[in-house]
Protein backbone atom coordinates (compact mmCIF):
# COMPACT_ATOMS: atom_id res chain seq x y z
CA UNK A 1 0.00 0.00 0.00
CA UNK A 2 2.87 2.35 0.79
CA UNK A 3 3.07 5.39 -1.46
CA UNK A 4 6.53 5.70 -2.98
CA UNK A 5 8.08 8.80 -4.50
CA UNK A 6 7.06 7.85 -8.02
CA UNK A 7 3.44 7.62 -6.88
CA UNK A 8 3.66 11.07 -5.26
CA UNK A 9 4.85 12.50 -8.57
CA UNK A 10 2.10 10.69 -10.48
CA UNK A 11 -0.64 11.89 -8.10
CA UNK A 12 0.72 15.44 -8.16
CA UNK A 13 0.59 15.33 -11.97
CA UNK A 14 -3.01 14.06 -11.89
CA UNK A 15 -3.94 16.80 -9.41
CA UNK A 16 -2.12 19.42 -11.55
CA UNK A 17 -0.03 20.58 -8.60
CA UNK A 18 3.62 21.45 -9.18
CA UNK A 19 5.68 19.74 -6.49
CA UNK A 20 9.33 20.57 -5.95
CA UNK A 21 11.71 17.65 -5.93
CA UNK A 22 12.75 18.25 -2.31
CA UNK A 23 9.09 18.15 -1.17
CA UNK A 24 8.51 14.65 -2.54
CA UNK A 25 9.95 12.50 0.32
CA UNK A 26 8.12 14.59 2.91
CA UNK A 27 4.81 14.33 1.01
CA UNK A 28 5.24 10.57 0.66
CA UNK A 29 5.62 10.32 4.44
CA UNK A 30 2.51 12.38 5.09
CA UNK A 31 0.38 10.55 2.57
CA UNK A 32 1.50 7.23 4.02
CA UNK A 33 0.55 8.38 7.53
CA UNK A 34 -2.96 9.24 6.32
CA UNK A 35 -3.32 6.01 4.34
CA UNK A 36 -2.13 3.98 7.34
CA UNK A 37 -4.77 5.72 9.42
CA UNK A 38 -7.62 4.92 6.99
CA UNK A 39 -6.37 1.33 6.64
CA UNK A 40 -8.52 0.49 9.68
CA UNK A 41 -11.55 0.41 7.37
CA UNK A 42 -10.35 -2.77 5.68
CA UNK A 43 -11.14 -4.63 8.92
CA UNK A 44 -14.88 -4.13 8.28
CA UNK A 45 -17.00 -6.49 6.24
CA UNK A 46 -18.97 -4.23 3.90
CA UNK A 47 -19.87 -6.83 1.26
CA UNK A 48 -23.62 -6.46 1.83
CA UNK A 49 -23.70 -2.72 2.42
CA UNK A 50 -24.82 -0.18 -0.17
CA UNK A 51 -22.65 2.95 -0.46
CA UNK A 52 -24.31 6.06 0.91
CA UNK A 53 -25.33 8.47 -1.82
CA UNK A 54 -27.44 10.96 0.12
CA UNK A 55 -27.79 11.56 3.86
CA UNK A 56 -31.33 12.84 3.49
CA UNK A 57 -33.85 10.85 1.49
CA UNK A 58 -34.64 13.27 -1.32
CA UNK A 59 -35.26 13.27 -5.03
CA UNK A 60 -33.27 15.55 -7.24
CA UNK A 61 -35.62 18.44 -7.94
CA UNK A 62 -36.34 19.35 -11.54
CA UNK A 63 -37.13 22.80 -12.83
CA UNK A 64 -38.39 24.27 -16.04
CA UNK A 65 -35.65 24.43 -18.66
CA UNK A 66 -35.34 28.17 -19.03
CA UNK A 67 -32.60 30.72 -18.56
CA UNK A 68 -32.72 32.23 -15.07
CA UNK A 69 -29.38 33.99 -14.92
CA UNK A 70 -26.53 35.07 -17.14
CA UNK A 71 -26.13 37.41 -20.06
CA UNK A 72 -23.73 39.61 -18.13
CA UNK A 73 -20.17 39.08 -19.42
CA UNK A 74 -18.83 41.93 -17.26
CA UNK A 75 -19.84 40.09 -14.10
CA UNK A 76 -18.50 36.79 -15.38
CA UNK A 77 -15.15 38.29 -16.40
CA UNK A 78 -14.75 40.67 -13.50
CA UNK A 79 -12.27 38.45 -11.63
CA UNK A 80 -10.41 37.06 -14.63
CA UNK A 81 -6.62 37.12 -14.18
CA UNK A 82 -6.24 37.86 -17.92
CA UNK A 83 -9.02 38.84 -20.33
CA UNK A 84 -9.35 40.12 -23.86
CA UNK A 85 -12.69 41.58 -24.86
CA UNK A 86 -15.34 39.19 -23.58
CA UNK A 87 -12.96 36.24 -23.38
CA UNK A 88 -10.72 34.56 -20.81
CA UNK A 89 -7.16 34.32 -22.08
CA UNK A 90 -5.24 31.05 -21.67
CA UNK A 91 -1.87 29.88 -23.01
CA UNK A 92 -2.06 28.51 -26.54
CA UNK A 93 -3.74 25.07 -26.53
CA UNK A 94 -4.08 24.26 -30.25
CA UNK A 95 -1.16 24.59 -32.63
Amino acid sequence: MAVDEATVRRVAKLARIAVKEDEVPHLAGELNAILAFVEELSALDVSNVAPLTSVTPMRLPLREDKVTAGGDPEKVLKNAPVREGDFFVVPKVVE
Partner: protein, 492 residues
Amino acid sequence: MSDLTNLTLAEARDGLKAKTFSAAEITEAHIAAVAESKPLNAYILETPDKAREMAKASDVRLAKGEGGPLEGIPLGIKDMFCTEGVRTTACSKILDDFTPTYESTVTSQLWRDGAVMLGKLNNDEFAMGSSNETSAFGNVINPWRARGSTENLVPGGSSGGSSSAVAARLCLGATGTDTGGSIRQPAAFTGIVGIKPTYGRCSRWGIVAFASSLDQAGPFARTVRDTAILMRSMSGHDPKDSTSVDMPVPDYEAAIGRSVKGLKIGVPKEYRVDGMPTEIEKLWQQGREWLKAAGAEIVEISLPHTKYALPAYYIVAPAEASSNLARYDGVRYGARVNGGDITGMYENTRGEGFGAEVKRRIMIGTYVLSAGYYDAYYVRAQKVRTLIKQDFDKVFASGVHAVLTPTTPSPAFAIGSKSKADPVEMYLNDIFTVTVNMAGLPGISVPAGSSPEGLPLGLQLIGRPFDEESLFALGQVIEDSAGVHPAPEKWW
Protein backbone atom coordinates in the same frame (compact mmCIF):
# COMPACT_ATOMS: atom_id res chain seq x y z
CA MET B 1 -15.13 46.22 26.18
CA SER B 2 -18.08 48.53 26.22
CA ASP B 3 -21.47 47.51 27.56
CA LEU B 4 -22.92 47.40 24.05
CA THR B 5 -20.44 44.77 22.85
CA ASN B 6 -21.10 42.65 25.92
CA LEU B 7 -24.83 42.34 25.31
CA THR B 8 -26.31 39.10 24.09
CA LEU B 9 -27.82 39.24 20.62
CA ALA B 10 -31.31 38.93 22.13
CA GLU B 11 -30.65 41.83 24.52
CA ALA B 12 -29.30 43.94 21.67
CA ARG B 13 -32.33 43.16 19.54
CA ASP B 14 -34.68 44.17 22.33
CA GLY B 15 -32.68 47.31 23.15
CA LEU B 16 -32.71 48.38 19.50
CA LYS B 17 -36.43 47.81 19.24
CA ALA B 18 -37.03 49.79 22.45
CA LYS B 19 -34.67 52.53 21.09
CA THR B 20 -32.50 52.33 24.24
CA PHE B 21 -29.59 52.69 21.79
CA SER B 22 -29.32 52.95 18.03
CA ALA B 23 -27.93 50.56 15.42
CA ALA B 24 -25.31 53.22 14.70
CA GLU B 25 -24.21 53.21 18.36
CA ILE B 26 -23.94 49.46 18.76
CA THR B 27 -22.18 49.20 15.39
CA GLU B 28 -19.70 51.95 16.35
CA ALA B 29 -18.94 50.14 19.63
CA HIS B 30 -18.14 46.98 17.70
CA ILE B 31 -16.05 48.77 15.07
CA ALA B 32 -13.95 50.18 17.93
CA ALA B 33 -13.58 46.73 19.54
CA VAL B 34 -12.54 45.21 16.21
CA ALA B 35 -9.97 47.97 15.65
CA GLU B 36 -8.32 47.05 18.96
CA SER B 37 -8.32 43.32 18.28
CA LYS B 38 -5.38 43.00 15.87
CA PRO B 39 -3.39 40.58 18.11
CA LEU B 40 -6.23 38.03 17.78
CA ASN B 41 -6.14 38.18 13.95
CA ALA B 42 -9.82 37.19 13.84
CA TYR B 43 -10.84 39.68 11.14
CA ILE B 44 -8.98 39.50 7.84
CA LEU B 45 -11.05 42.27 6.28
CA GLU B 46 -12.85 45.00 8.19
CA THR B 47 -15.75 46.75 6.47
CA PRO B 48 -16.50 49.67 8.84
CA ASP B 49 -17.91 51.93 6.11
CA LYS B 50 -20.28 49.25 4.92
CA ALA B 51 -21.24 48.54 8.55
CA ARG B 52 -22.03 52.22 9.20
CA GLU B 53 -24.09 52.44 6.04
CA MET B 54 -26.06 49.29 6.92
CA ALA B 55 -26.57 50.49 10.51
CA LYS B 56 -27.89 53.83 9.23
CA ALA B 57 -30.42 52.03 7.05
CA SER B 58 -31.36 49.85 10.05
CA ASP B 59 -32.00 52.93 12.18
CA VAL B 60 -34.33 54.30 9.50
CA ARG B 61 -36.29 51.02 9.46
CA LEU B 62 -36.33 50.79 13.27
CA ALA B 63 -37.65 54.35 13.51
CA LYS B 64 -40.54 53.38 11.24
CA GLY B 65 -41.15 50.22 13.26
CA GLU B 66 -40.25 48.14 10.22
CA GLY B 67 -37.18 46.38 11.63
CA GLY B 68 -36.48 42.79 10.64
CA PRO B 69 -35.68 39.98 13.11
CA LEU B 70 -31.96 40.94 13.12
CA GLU B 71 -32.34 44.67 12.53
CA GLY B 72 -29.14 46.51 13.47
CA ILE B 73 -27.31 43.43 14.81
CA PRO B 74 -23.54 43.54 13.99
CA LEU B 75 -22.21 40.21 12.74
CA GLY B 76 -18.93 38.79 11.47
CA ILE B 77 -18.87 36.60 8.35
CA LYS B 78 -16.54 33.65 7.82
CA ASP B 79 -14.48 34.17 4.69
CA MET B 80 -15.99 31.00 3.16
CA PHE B 81 -19.17 32.98 2.38
CA CYS B 82 -19.23 34.97 -0.85
CA THR B 83 -20.15 38.58 -0.18
CA GLU B 84 -21.03 40.80 -3.11
CA GLY B 85 -18.40 43.46 -3.73
CA VAL B 86 -16.41 42.39 -0.65
CA ARG B 87 -13.23 40.34 -1.09
CA THR B 88 -13.74 36.63 -0.41
CA THR B 89 -10.71 34.32 -0.31
CA ALA B 90 -11.49 31.20 1.79
CA CYS B 91 -8.17 32.34 3.34
CA SER B 92 -6.26 30.91 0.39
CA LYS B 93 -3.65 32.63 -1.76
CA ILE B 94 -5.20 30.99 -4.79
CA LEU B 95 -8.30 33.19 -4.64
CA ASP B 96 -6.09 36.27 -4.53
CA ASP B 97 -8.38 39.30 -4.27
CA PHE B 98 -11.48 37.56 -5.64
CA THR B 99 -14.45 39.89 -5.28
CA PRO B 100 -17.76 38.10 -5.80
CA THR B 101 -20.41 39.65 -8.01
CA TYR B 102 -23.05 37.80 -6.01
CA GLU B 103 -24.04 37.17 -2.40
CA SER B 104 -24.31 33.74 -0.75
CA THR B 105 -27.89 32.77 0.04
CA VAL B 106 -27.22 32.47 3.78
CA THR B 107 -25.65 35.92 4.11
CA SER B 108 -28.28 37.49 1.85
CA GLN B 109 -30.91 36.21 4.30
CA LEU B 110 -29.05 37.79 7.22
CA TRP B 111 -29.00 41.16 5.42
CA ARG B 112 -32.67 40.69 4.41
CA ASP B 113 -33.43 40.40 8.13
CA GLY B 114 -31.53 43.60 8.95
CA ALA B 115 -28.13 42.39 10.19
CA VAL B 116 -25.02 44.59 9.82
CA MET B 117 -21.73 43.26 8.44
CA LEU B 118 -18.58 44.17 10.37
CA GLY B 119 -16.18 42.27 8.13
CA LYS B 120 -14.79 38.94 7.02
CA LEU B 121 -13.42 36.43 9.50
CA ASN B 122 -10.32 34.28 9.31
CA ASN B 123 -10.52 30.51 8.85
CA ASP B 124 -8.32 27.57 7.96
CA GLU B 125 -7.54 27.61 4.23
CA PHE B 126 -10.65 26.26 2.45
CA ALA B 127 -11.89 25.30 5.95
CA MET B 128 -9.32 22.50 6.11
CA GLY B 129 -7.98 22.40 9.63
CA SER B 130 -8.88 22.15 13.30
CA SER B 131 -6.79 24.96 14.74
CA ASN B 132 -6.87 27.88 12.30
CA GLU B 133 -3.17 27.42 11.65
CA THR B 134 -3.50 26.82 7.88
CA SER B 135 -4.88 30.25 6.86
CA ALA B 136 -2.94 32.28 4.30
CA PHE B 137 -3.62 35.24 6.61
CA GLY B 138 -1.85 33.67 9.59
CA ASN B 139 -2.98 32.08 12.84
CA VAL B 140 -5.99 33.22 14.81
CA ILE B 141 -5.43 33.50 18.55
CA ASN B 142 -7.91 32.31 21.16
CA PRO B 143 -8.95 35.13 23.51
CA TRP B 144 -8.73 32.53 26.30
CA ARG B 145 -5.41 31.71 27.97
CA ALA B 146 -4.63 29.24 30.71
CA ARG B 147 -4.76 30.85 34.14
CA GLY B 148 -1.53 32.74 34.84
CA SER B 149 -0.13 31.99 31.37
CA THR B 150 0.64 34.24 28.40
CA GLU B 151 0.99 31.37 25.94
CA ASN B 152 -1.17 31.77 22.83
CA LEU B 153 -3.73 29.04 22.23
CA VAL B 154 -5.61 28.05 19.09
CA PRO B 155 -9.28 29.09 18.78
CA GLY B 156 -10.17 25.78 17.09
CA GLY B 157 -10.89 25.42 13.43
CA SER B 158 -11.76 25.77 10.80
CA SER B 159 -14.05 28.64 11.90
CA GLY B 160 -11.39 30.03 14.26
CA GLY B 161 -11.93 33.68 13.32
CA SER B 162 -15.64 33.29 14.04
CA SER B 163 -15.14 31.65 17.43
CA SER B 164 -12.42 34.05 18.53
CA ALA B 165 -14.43 37.11 17.43
CA VAL B 166 -17.66 36.06 19.16
CA ALA B 167 -15.86 35.09 22.40
CA ALA B 168 -13.80 38.32 22.41
CA ARG B 169 -16.91 40.50 21.93
CA LEU B 170 -15.92 41.59 18.40
CA CYS B 171 -19.44 40.84 17.08
CA LEU B 172 -22.73 39.60 18.52
CA GLY B 173 -22.75 36.51 16.36
CA ALA B 174 -20.97 35.01 13.38
CA THR B 175 -21.45 32.58 10.56
CA GLY B 176 -19.49 29.35 10.29
CA THR B 177 -19.30 26.28 8.12
CA ASP B 178 -18.92 22.75 9.47
CA THR B 179 -17.62 19.83 7.40
CA GLY B 180 -16.20 17.66 10.20
CA GLY B 181 -16.60 19.78 13.32
CA SER B 182 -15.57 23.26 12.16
CA ILE B 183 -18.36 25.02 14.06
CA ARG B 184 -18.69 22.85 17.17
CA GLN B 185 -14.99 22.34 17.99
CA PRO B 186 -14.07 26.07 17.85
CA ALA B 187 -17.22 26.91 19.83
CA ALA B 188 -16.08 24.50 22.56
CA PHE B 189 -12.52 25.91 22.55
CA THR B 190 -13.72 29.48 23.10
CA GLY B 191 -16.66 29.07 25.51
CA ILE B 192 -19.45 29.93 23.08
CA VAL B 193 -22.37 28.16 21.38
CA GLY B 194 -22.23 26.79 17.84
CA ILE B 195 -24.67 24.65 15.90
CA LYS B 196 -24.28 22.64 12.72
CA PRO B 197 -27.79 22.19 11.34
CA THR B 198 -29.07 19.10 9.55
CA TYR B 199 -27.58 18.67 6.08
CA GLY B 200 -29.90 20.55 3.71
CA ARG B 201 -31.29 22.99 6.29
CA CYS B 202 -29.16 25.91 5.05
CA SER B 203 -28.40 26.61 1.42
CA ARG B 204 -24.80 26.00 0.37
CA TRP B 205 -25.14 28.35 -2.60
CA GLY B 206 -22.41 30.97 -2.63
CA ILE B 207 -20.34 29.23 0.05
CA VAL B 208 -16.88 28.14 -1.10
CA ALA B 209 -17.20 24.36 -1.45
CA PHE B 210 -14.94 21.98 0.48
CA ALA B 211 -16.76 18.60 0.66
CA SER B 212 -20.24 19.07 -0.72
CA SER B 213 -21.93 16.07 0.92
CA LEU B 214 -20.67 17.16 4.36
CA ASP B 215 -20.56 20.99 4.28
CA GLN B 216 -23.24 22.86 6.18
CA ALA B 217 -23.45 26.47 7.37
CA GLY B 218 -24.45 27.41 10.89
CA PRO B 219 -24.28 30.20 13.48
CA PHE B 220 -22.03 31.06 16.43
CA ALA B 221 -23.18 33.20 19.34
CA ARG B 222 -22.70 33.49 23.08
CA THR B 223 -26.01 31.96 24.17
CA VAL B 224 -28.23 29.14 22.96
CA ARG B 225 -31.05 31.62 22.38
CA ASP B 226 -28.82 33.81 20.21
CA THR B 227 -27.84 30.90 17.97
CA ALA B 228 -31.53 29.97 17.66
CA ILE B 229 -32.33 33.52 16.51
CA LEU B 230 -29.56 33.43 13.88
CA MET B 231 -30.50 29.90 12.74
CA ARG B 232 -33.97 31.00 11.76
CA SER B 233 -32.62 33.68 9.46
CA MET B 234 -29.94 31.44 7.95
CA SER B 235 -32.24 28.46 7.21
CA GLY B 236 -34.66 27.83 4.41
CA HIS B 237 -35.18 26.36 0.99
CA ASP B 238 -33.16 27.69 -1.92
CA PRO B 239 -33.87 26.55 -5.48
CA LYS B 240 -30.22 27.32 -6.30
CA ASP B 241 -29.02 24.46 -4.04
CA SER B 242 -30.61 21.17 -5.09
CA THR B 243 -29.69 19.63 -1.71
CA SER B 244 -31.48 22.30 0.30
CA VAL B 245 -34.74 20.95 1.68
CA ASP B 246 -38.14 22.43 1.00
CA MET B 247 -39.45 22.38 4.57
CA PRO B 248 -40.89 25.23 6.63
CA VAL B 249 -38.40 26.93 8.98
CA PRO B 250 -39.60 26.71 12.59
CA ASP B 251 -39.33 29.57 15.07
CA TYR B 252 -36.27 28.06 16.76
CA GLU B 253 -36.29 30.65 19.53
CA ALA B 254 -39.69 29.31 20.66
CA ALA B 255 -37.94 26.03 21.56
CA ILE B 256 -35.85 27.85 24.19
CA GLY B 257 -37.28 27.05 27.59
CA ARG B 258 -39.38 24.20 26.24
CA SER B 259 -39.54 21.33 28.74
CA VAL B 260 -37.19 18.42 28.14
CA LYS B 261 -39.16 16.22 30.53
CA GLY B 262 -39.43 12.70 29.22
CA LEU B 263 -36.87 13.19 26.43
CA LYS B 264 -34.62 10.18 26.08
CA ILE B 265 -30.93 11.08 25.90
CA GLY B 266 -28.48 8.51 24.60
CA VAL B 267 -24.94 8.30 25.97
CA PRO B 268 -22.80 6.32 23.52
CA LYS B 269 -20.35 3.99 25.21
CA GLU B 270 -18.02 4.13 22.19
CA TYR B 271 -17.23 7.78 22.94
CA ARG B 272 -15.38 6.77 26.10
CA VAL B 273 -12.04 6.82 24.33
CA ASP B 274 -8.73 5.72 25.80
CA GLY B 275 -6.76 8.48 27.42
CA MET B 276 -9.74 10.83 27.72
CA PRO B 277 -8.79 13.49 30.31
CA THR B 278 -10.65 13.20 33.64
CA GLU B 279 -11.96 16.76 33.24
CA ILE B 280 -13.77 15.73 30.03
CA GLU B 281 -15.18 12.58 31.66
CA LYS B 282 -16.37 14.67 34.63
CA LEU B 283 -17.95 17.28 32.36
CA TRP B 284 -19.84 14.58 30.48
CA GLN B 285 -21.08 13.05 33.76
CA GLN B 286 -22.15 16.52 34.90
CA GLY B 287 -24.08 17.01 31.65
CA ARG B 288 -25.97 13.76 32.20
CA GLU B 289 -26.90 14.86 35.72
CA TRP B 290 -28.10 18.29 34.55
CA LEU B 291 -30.35 16.80 31.87
CA LYS B 292 -31.64 14.17 34.30
CA ALA B 293 -32.44 16.86 36.87
CA ALA B 294 -34.47 18.64 34.17
CA GLY B 295 -36.55 15.51 33.67
CA ALA B 296 -34.79 13.83 30.75
CA GLU B 297 -34.12 10.13 30.81
CA ILE B 298 -30.50 9.05 30.32
CA VAL B 299 -29.87 5.76 28.54
CA GLU B 300 -26.65 4.07 27.51
CA ILE B 301 -26.54 3.44 23.79
CA SER B 302 -24.16 1.86 21.31
CA LEU B 303 -22.97 3.39 18.05
CA PRO B 304 -20.72 0.49 17.06
CA HIS B 305 -19.15 2.03 13.97
CA THR B 306 -17.97 5.22 15.69
CA LYS B 307 -14.27 4.39 15.44
CA TYR B 308 -14.54 4.08 11.66
CA ALA B 309 -16.02 7.55 11.18
CA LEU B 310 -12.78 9.52 11.20
CA PRO B 311 -10.87 7.20 8.84
CA ALA B 312 -13.88 7.14 6.45
CA TYR B 313 -14.08 10.94 6.67
CA TYR B 314 -10.44 11.25 5.63
CA ILE B 315 -11.31 9.46 2.41
CA VAL B 316 -14.67 11.04 1.60
CA ALA B 317 -13.76 14.66 2.45
CA PRO B 318 -10.46 14.78 0.52
CA ALA B 319 -12.06 12.98 -2.44
CA GLU B 320 -14.81 15.58 -2.67
CA ALA B 321 -12.30 18.37 -2.05
CA SER B 322 -10.02 17.20 -4.86
CA SER B 323 -12.99 17.40 -7.20
CA ASN B 324 -14.35 20.73 -5.90
CA LEU B 325 -10.96 22.43 -5.89
CA ALA B 326 -10.27 21.44 -9.50
CA ARG B 327 -11.97 24.73 -10.41
CA TYR B 328 -8.97 26.76 -9.19
CA ASP B 329 -7.07 26.73 -12.46
CA GLY B 330 -5.91 30.32 -12.86
CA VAL B 331 -8.30 30.97 -15.74
CA ARG B 332 -11.58 32.44 -14.54
CA TYR B 333 -10.69 34.00 -11.20
CA GLY B 334 -7.99 34.11 -8.58
CA ALA B 335 -4.25 34.02 -8.95
CA ARG B 336 -2.40 32.83 -12.06
CA VAL B 337 1.23 31.73 -12.21
CA ASN B 338 2.49 31.23 -15.75
CA GLY B 339 4.31 28.07 -16.74
CA GLY B 340 4.85 27.85 -20.49
CA ASP B 341 2.00 25.70 -21.74
CA ILE B 342 -1.46 25.44 -20.22
CA THR B 343 -0.65 22.41 -18.05
CA GLY B 344 2.40 24.17 -16.69
CA MET B 345 0.23 27.18 -15.90
CA TYR B 346 -2.29 24.98 -14.02
CA GLU B 347 0.46 23.22 -12.10
CA ASN B 348 2.33 26.37 -11.11
CA THR B 349 -0.86 28.22 -10.19
CA ARG B 350 -2.01 25.37 -7.95
CA GLY B 351 1.45 24.58 -6.62
CA GLU B 352 1.97 28.16 -5.45
CA GLY B 353 -1.63 29.06 -4.67
CA PHE B 354 -2.57 26.21 -2.34
CA GLY B 355 -1.05 25.80 1.13
CA ALA B 356 0.47 22.59 2.47
CA GLU B 357 -2.64 21.12 4.14
CA VAL B 358 -4.84 21.81 1.11
CA LYS B 359 -2.31 20.22 -1.26
CA ARG B 360 -2.07 17.19 1.03
CA ARG B 361 -5.83 16.71 1.00
CA ILE B 362 -6.18 17.23 -2.75
CA MET B 363 -3.46 14.64 -3.30
CA ILE B 364 -5.04 12.11 -0.93
CA GLY B 365 -8.37 12.70 -2.66
CA THR B 366 -6.81 12.30 -6.09
CA TYR B 367 -5.13 9.09 -4.95
CA VAL B 368 -8.28 7.45 -3.50
CA LEU B 369 -10.26 8.35 -6.61
CA SER B 370 -7.60 7.17 -9.07
CA ALA B 371 -7.97 4.06 -11.22
CA GLY B 372 -7.46 0.88 -9.22
CA TYR B 373 -8.08 2.51 -5.84
CA TYR B 374 -11.59 3.88 -6.24
CA ASP B 375 -13.38 0.74 -4.99
CA ALA B 376 -10.85 -0.07 -2.29
CA TYR B 377 -10.99 3.39 -0.76
CA TYR B 378 -13.80 5.64 -1.89
CA VAL B 379 -16.62 3.12 -2.36
CA ARG B 380 -15.62 1.33 0.84
CA ALA B 381 -15.69 4.62 2.78
CA GLN B 382 -19.15 5.43 1.41
CA LYS B 383 -20.31 1.98 2.57
CA VAL B 384 -18.89 2.63 6.02
CA ARG B 385 -20.81 5.87 5.96
CA THR B 386 -24.02 3.89 5.46
CA LEU B 387 -23.15 1.84 8.56
CA ILE B 388 -22.48 5.00 10.60
CA LYS B 389 -25.82 6.45 9.54
CA GLN B 390 -27.59 3.17 10.36
CA ASP B 391 -26.10 3.27 13.88
CA PHE B 392 -27.88 6.57 14.47
CA ASP B 393 -31.07 5.49 12.66
CA LYS B 394 -31.38 2.49 15.01
CA VAL B 395 -30.79 4.55 18.13
CA PHE B 396 -33.36 7.16 17.10
CA ALA B 397 -35.86 4.43 16.10
CA SER B 398 -35.51 2.95 19.60
CA GLY B 399 -36.95 6.19 21.01
CA VAL B 400 -33.81 8.20 21.73
CA HIS B 401 -34.40 11.92 21.05
CA ALA B 402 -30.82 13.16 21.23
CA VAL B 403 -27.29 11.98 21.98
CA LEU B 404 -24.97 13.62 24.53
CA THR B 405 -21.19 13.57 24.09
CA PRO B 406 -18.21 15.80 24.84
CA THR B 407 -17.49 18.15 21.91
CA THR B 408 -13.71 17.69 21.94
CA PRO B 409 -11.23 15.30 23.55
CA SER B 410 -9.31 18.22 25.15
CA PRO B 411 -9.44 21.98 25.77
CA ALA B 412 -7.69 24.43 23.39
CA PHE B 413 -4.03 23.62 22.80
CA ALA B 414 -1.00 25.82 22.11
CA ILE B 415 -0.22 27.18 18.65
CA GLY B 416 2.22 24.89 16.89
CA SER B 417 1.90 22.10 19.46
CA LYS B 418 0.56 19.43 17.11
CA SER B 419 3.03 17.37 15.17
CA LYS B 420 3.99 18.64 11.74
CA ALA B 421 5.15 15.20 10.60
CA ASP B 422 1.90 13.36 11.28
CA PRO B 423 -1.24 15.16 10.08
CA VAL B 424 -3.38 12.51 11.79
CA GLU B 425 -2.58 13.97 15.22
CA MET B 426 -4.51 17.10 14.27
CA TYR B 427 -7.32 15.12 12.65
CA LEU B 428 -8.05 13.34 15.97
CA ASN B 429 -9.49 16.61 17.30
CA ASP B 430 -12.66 15.95 15.34
CA ILE B 431 -13.21 12.46 16.70
CA PHE B 432 -16.47 13.34 18.49
CA THR B 433 -17.85 15.73 15.87
CA VAL B 434 -17.17 14.03 12.54
CA THR B 435 -19.79 11.26 12.84
CA VAL B 436 -22.48 13.95 12.81
CA ASN B 437 -21.41 15.20 9.36
CA MET B 438 -21.04 11.66 8.03
CA ALA B 439 -24.69 11.00 9.00
CA GLY B 440 -25.95 14.49 8.03
CA LEU B 441 -27.37 15.13 11.52
CA PRO B 442 -27.69 18.37 13.50
CA GLY B 443 -25.22 18.93 16.36
CA ILE B 444 -24.82 21.75 18.87
CA SER B 445 -21.92 22.56 21.18
CA VAL B 446 -22.75 24.37 24.41
CA PRO B 447 -20.18 25.62 26.97
CA ALA B 448 -20.48 23.45 30.07
CA GLY B 449 -17.53 24.30 32.27
CA SER B 450 -13.79 24.85 32.40
CA SER B 451 -10.64 22.78 32.63
CA PRO B 452 -8.51 23.02 35.81
CA GLU B 453 -6.41 25.67 33.95
CA GLY B 454 -9.53 27.75 33.35
CA LEU B 455 -10.07 26.92 29.68
CA PRO B 456 -13.59 26.48 28.27
CA LEU B 457 -15.02 23.02 27.62
CA GLY B 458 -18.13 22.12 25.64
CA LEU B 459 -20.75 19.40 25.49
CA GLN B 460 -22.25 18.27 22.21
CA LEU B 461 -25.87 17.26 21.61
CA ILE B 462 -26.68 15.37 18.43
CA GLY B 463 -30.27 15.39 17.21
CA ARG B 464 -32.61 13.57 14.88
CA PRO B 465 -32.66 14.95 11.32
CA PHE B 466 -34.36 18.38 11.26
CA ASP B 467 -35.02 18.35 15.01
CA GLU B 468 -32.80 21.32 15.83
CA GLU B 469 -35.57 22.48 18.19
CA SER B 470 -34.87 19.68 20.68
CA LEU B 471 -31.19 20.61 20.58
CA PHE B 472 -32.03 24.22 21.46
CA ALA B 473 -34.31 23.08 24.31
CA LEU B 474 -31.68 20.67 25.69
CA GLY B 475 -28.83 23.13 25.08
CA GLN B 476 -30.71 25.71 27.12
CA VAL B 477 -30.87 23.26 30.05
CA ILE B 478 -27.07 22.90 29.93
CA GLU B 479 -26.63 26.67 29.68
CA ASP B 480 -29.02 27.27 32.60
CA SER B 481 -27.18 24.69 34.70
CA ALA B 482 -23.62 25.72 33.80
CA GLY B 483 -24.39 29.44 33.51
CA VAL B 484 -23.58 31.51 30.41
CA HIS B 485 -19.83 31.24 29.97
CA PRO B 486 -18.09 34.42 31.23
CA ALA B 487 -16.14 36.77 28.95
CA PRO B 488 -12.39 36.18 28.64
CA GLU B 489 -10.20 38.72 30.40
CA LYS B 490 -9.04 41.26 27.81
CA TRP B 491 -5.25 40.99 27.29
CA TRP B 492 -5.03 42.08 23.66
